[in-house]
């Protein structure tokens, strides 16, 4: 092929290895060429195990030469948010408090990706304990947006978004408790999928909020995300909360036909304070989806006050006991924005928390009954505003009030965590600062196929997802 092997999509990379067009070692070296040139400025990768990765790549190539049965991700190098446990390997969770932590178990999702033929070469930067929407990190250094370095990457899966955008890897796992997959996907110009709550096992994954935590991919396209979801979704006996729902063939359903798809655009909440370029990009994206046969209706979403109030306390309360010992013994080990945001969680009454959880089911039922009677999917901006800079959202060093700019980043993603709905973010343009804009598509429970189909059709007709950060132009 002409160009760089690291520019391939995940699916194309796996296909090229399987066909013998390229070796896994070549893919790895192409990714590392980008990493070596750009990571010192982006800071997406925080540790590497190159010898082990080289050995895995050589083994993958030997399997191809030996005509062995190959998995759907065979020979594809990956790196993940540094909170997916691999027995004996470093898993810092982005924190000084776990800078030497080596778990004794391997996450089910890692095991499933390995069984599909993928391997890892390192760990990715992230918000401390997956707790910010920006990419700030006191211990390992802030992650910088490869499209414009002073700007946020989004978080908490900051290194996942930045590394996929900068072509250090083909896919990275993120986790999403309030938007932590979709936000870095939007900010870094890649595609990120938060599955339905319970769709993917969380065994061996650092917990933040057991009611809201989700595991999912960030990749170059919706089709790549579909490939990964097919591998990682499904019940896991080691995670009793994982659903027994069958896993369909997500890729097969992505036929590009959107005739009959009913799109809803909320006129309340999601566009409050939205910036013009963001709204314009969303409207242009809707026009593309309409040309594929979709229809659009605009209406007020119900229950948004309840969703915001209840959803706003669940993760804060659930994080509190996990971190109580460290908050007593070593609170200064956290960034101020981490410990500062966790602190109020200790004062929220248990009765409020039980109310929020016990009403989650009824709220979902009422929301779904009203909304999904009218439409199949909802479309919103992933982030309402043009991206802020790291400095503008730096609670640790900024003036009082910085926290409001910081929290506004995740306003549009958090509601879908309380509702448990699947949602995907796809690139749909650039803001005046050259930073990507993300389009969020949310669907019914276990409706990942539907939102992937819509996202895939959009990416058939647009090439925002294929755009490459200018910083890579300097790589030989």
């Amino acid at each position: 092929m002409a160009g760089n092997w690291a520019d391939l999509s995940l699916i194309a990379a796996a296909g090229a290895v399987a066909s013998g067009e390229v070796t896994s070692v070549d893919l790895l070296h192409a990714c590392w060429a980008n990493l070596d040139a750009v990571n010192p400025r982006v800071n997406a990768v925080i540790w590497q195990e190159r010898e082990a990765a080289e050995a895995a790549a050589r083994a993958a190539d030997a399997a191809v030469r030996g005509k062995q049965a190959l998995g759907p991700l065979h020979g594809v190098p990956m790196a993940h948010k540094d909170m997916y446990y691999q027995a004996g390997k470093l898993s810092t969770c982005g924190s000084a408090l776990r800078k030497d932590f080596r778990p004794t178990v391997t996450a089910t999702v890692i095991a499933r990706l390995s069984a599909a033929g993928a391997y890892t070469f390192g760990g990715l930067n992230m918000a401390e304990f997956a707790q910010n929407p920006t990419g700030h990190n006191k211990t390992f250094g802030d992650c910088h947006n490869p499209w414009n370095l002073p700007y946020i990457t989004g978080g908490s899966s900051s290194g996942s978004g930045a590394s996929v955008a900068a072509r250090f890897n083909y896919m990275a796992l993120g986790s999403d408790t309030g938007g932590s997959i979709r936000l870095p996907a939007a900010a870094c110009g890649v595609t990120g999928l938060k599955p339905t709550q319970t769709r993917v096992s969380r065994y061996g994954v650092m917990p933040l909020s057991f009611s809201h935590d989700n595991v999912g991919p960030l990749a170059r396209s919706a089709r790549d995300c579909a490939r990964v979801l097919s591998v990682i979704a499904g019940h896991d006996p080691r995670d009793p909360t994982s659903a027994r729902e069958p896993v369909p063939s997500y890729e097969a359903a992505m036929d590009g036909d959107l005739r009959g798809l009913r799109i809803g655009v909320p006129i309340n909440f999601f566009l409050d304070g939205a910036d013009g370029p963001v709204v314009a990009a969303m409207e242009a994206a809707l026009a593309v989806l309409v040309t594929r046969g979709a229809t659009v209706s605009r209406f007020e979403l119900p229950l948004m006050d309840a969703i915001a109030a209840y959803g706003g306390i669940v993760s804060r309360v659930e994080a509190a006991p996990i971190h109580a010992e460290w908050m007593r013994s070593d609170p200064q080990a956290y960034g101020a924005h981490i410990s500062g945001r966790m602190y109020p969680g200790y004062a929220i009454p248990a009765a409020y928390y039980v109310e929020a959880l016990s009403r989650r089911g009824p709220v979902l039922r009422a929301f779904a009954a009203e909304v999904f009677a009218k439409v199949d999917v909802l479309v919103t901006p992933t982030i309402r505003t043009c991206l802020p800079t790291l400095a503008e959202t730096d609670i640790d060093h900024g003036p009082p009030g910085t926290e409001h700019r910081f929290m506004a980043v995740s306003a549009n993603t958090r509601p879908f965590n309380y509702l448990g709905l699947p949602a995907i973010s796809v690139p749909c343009g650039f803001d005046p600062n050259g930073c990507p804009i993300g389009l969020q598509i949310a669907g019914r429970p276990f409706g990942e196929g539907r939102i992937l189909q819509a996202a895939g059709a959009y990416q058939t007709d647009t090439d925002w997802h294929a755009a490459k950060p200018p910083i890579l132009e300097t790589v030989a």
Binding site: T196, Q197, G340, P344, L364, R365, P445, F446
Partner: protein, 66 residues
Amino acid sequence: MGAFETSVEATIARWFGIDPPNDPARRLASELAATIEAFERLRGTLAFEDEPSSFEAALQATKEGA
């Protein structure tokens, strides 16, 4: 510091043995007043649901194709 903030800090110290680690913690704790107001506004708007596992049932009841 107002009475509300003093009360919040005392509650956290008494129940968890945790002191405010920094100024952002104090500022964000003071914003719990807004959380209380948000819950107050919801009073009477929803019936109490006493089956805490119903969220998983709701996912099934409202899922694609159900």
